[in-house]
């Protein structure tokens, strides 16, 4: 019960930041995603109580946009850029290597909760293709060879 109180408090704080209108919904969900690492079910149900938007609408928005996740993400988000420049320079090979090395599929989180592997629609770093972003850091001109070492660095 105590944990729920803190969830409610955090949601309230976020709602106060943007106002309880429908037009603030995406900004509110973005901050919730940032605060919790995903959109927990109880937080969304509570959000429905404080903003003037039906829960079905909240769910619609939460599942429509790629930035939101209804399941917890790992400590580091591993995003392989799937832009065209990255695709023609071998992004698929990187993704396959990551899937093999992390022993998960794209969209999943490793058992130890360290990494979530995702594909991202173009980071706009096409001049550095192919690229991958881990925890906000962009790794440029990446080859599959470098992946084990990079992952090791984040594990430490």
């Amino acid at each position: 019960m105590k944990k729920d109180k803190t969830v409610e408090k955090q949601v309230k704080e976020i709602v106060d930041r943007y106002g309880a209108e429908k037009s603030s919904l995406i900004a509110i969900l973005q901050d919730m995603q940032g605060a919790f690492g995903y959109l927990p079910k109880d937080a969304l149900i509570f959000l429905n109580e404080v903003v003037d938007v039906p829960l079905a609408r909240i769910y619609e928005v939460a599942t429509f946009y790629n930035a939101f996740s209804l399941t917890p993400r790992g400590k580091y988000l591993v995003e392989v850029c799937a832009g065209t420049a990255c695709h023609v320079t071998g992004a698929l090979t990187l993704m396959e290597r990551l899937e093999r090395d992390l022993e998960i599929r794209c969209g999943e989180t490793t058992g130890d909760g360290m990494f979530t592997l995702e594909q991202v629609r173009c980071l706009g770093c096409c001049s550095l293709a192919p690229v991958m972003r881990i925890g906000g850091n962009i790794h440029a001109y990446l080859t599959q060879d470098e992946i084990p070492k990079i992952l090791r660095n984040y594990r430490q």
């Binding site: 429509f64 799937a82 065209t84 320079t89 629609r121 706009g124 293709a129």
Partner: protein, 637 residues
Amino acid sequence: MSKIKTLDDLNQAGKRGLAALIPSRIKIMVGMATSGIASGAQEVYNALEAEIKERNLDIILSRTASMGMDCMEPLVDVLLPGKPRLAYSKMTAKKAPALLDQVAKGTIEAIKPFYRMDEEEFIVLGGAKRYFKGAAPAYLRGIPTIQEIPFYKKQVKIATRNCGLIDPESLDEYIAKGGYFSLYKALTGMKPEAIVADVIASGLRGRGGGGFRTGLKWKSCRDAEGEIKYVICNGDEGDPGAYMDRSVMEGDPHSVIEGMIIGAFAIGSHEGYIYVRNEYPLAVKNLAFAIAKARKCGLLGKNIFETGFDFDIKISKGAGAFVCGESTALMASLEGAAGEPRAKYIHTVEHGLWDRPSNLNNVETWANVPAILTRGGKWFAGIGAKNSTGTKVFSLVGKINNIGLVEVPMGTPLKDIVYEIGGGIPGGRKFKAVQTGGPSGGCIPEKLIDLPVDFDELRKAGSMMGSGGMIIMDDRTCMVDIAHYFIEFLESESCGKCVPCREGIRRMKDILEEICAGKGQAGDIELLQEMSKAIIDGSLCALGGSAPNPVLSTIQYFRDEYEAHISEKRCPAAVCKALIAYSIDKKKCTGCGVCRKKCPVKCITGEKKKPHVIDRKKCIKCGACYESCKFDAVTVK
């Protein structure tokens, strides 16, 4: 910072900016746009900062964004008083001490500059300004000027005029480059109708993809009934392979803001929104900083330039949905809903955001507006092609030597962009095609290399301008795989509202997947063409309406590749995994063992200094051996 209310205030700010841009002390600028930072610019900046502090040097260290040649980053510019400005490419933190040594000595011995700049343009405050008097110093004569670098030679910069030259956080520097003088001129000396007329005269067409005439859009919105109207900036640059809007938002945010204020005044709006992609954190940061600063100085808010005109801007962050680049979907997203487009016959200039008249233009379009007002619509109309005036920024990426952002007059032949500016294909490989227009565009083959690039010519060739991504492909790019790539992208980004788009694209993806897997059947090509027609006819928005383009254009120009996949079960470019096999050329293999060590599934065997062999049954075709072999002994067919 004091308020900017009068022309005198503007001139004062401009003077301060000029003194910051060309100071009487040594100045070092580090290019710190997203791509610069990703290639190590932050480390370079930190190293320079620490070294300057330790040596107690009298040097100004500042940040700027990108001038476009991203493949040479990190770029560091050095400006000594009374000397040409020198650009150093591919800088590293390690090289920082040596750079400072030679800067202090005024030499170029240790690290050779990439190019030099002799002058910089200050349109309003006195035209071009040379950094030095007389001829260039003798020791710099071997260094090419920026105009002599093939990458920059044919470029004409309007939308990206300030990118990489100013500190994006400095309002004074933007004003020194002529910024906000257009706004002053518009607000104090022009009628809104005259502004609209000037933009119509410029012939400016929307840079986001559609190519609709900007001035006419403004006029329709101005004429629309309603007390409250909105101007919106579309910064949801979703086309994969395009990043010019990111570059402008990061490198010159005030140009977008100024364009929007001018547009708002012309249309009669007092509220503006900038919708920025979630994937562009630095663009959001720099825009937010610039808006706050403009507001603080009175350039946004109430009573701008004491003319009684009020206008303010809010930033909205997208949440990762390609379809939100479509204007009606973007407005739905601004309202806090899922970004689903609606029928086009209800015009957003009459019924847009919250059902009120709304004028939406993209980042590059807005950035052109202040330049048009400064020099006049006629000047702009004199650049470029007949029905596509001005310049266009392209992101030249993929299999090309000089990767980066280029701004060229409309109508520049594709050949000049690929071979002169782009410097051709790396590794001496063969140019095969260029993909333009993002997922809604198409592939233009080598035989059309002389094509002048403008809105109409690209459309005639079966592609489109889109936001300006140009992805160069060589003989190692499979066109069926590319078609599959775009269709897969659109399948996951289709909002699902229209059935032909939602289900049709999915089925097209299935067919392409089968073809790539070697399971294609006779008649597949015709079926793809037939489905394309139904999807184009049956979709509300441009996403569905143009989704089949990548498939149609690749079938049109590269039908032989489709046929090779279907009837011969062969991928001519050796990309589709189901149809390729790796082997080692015994004659070329030196037995160095690198591939054996790199193979993640240990399917390569062989003794030292003797030819190695790949066990095809175990091979997962990851290509690690191919990438690592220095002797070209690994082949793929």
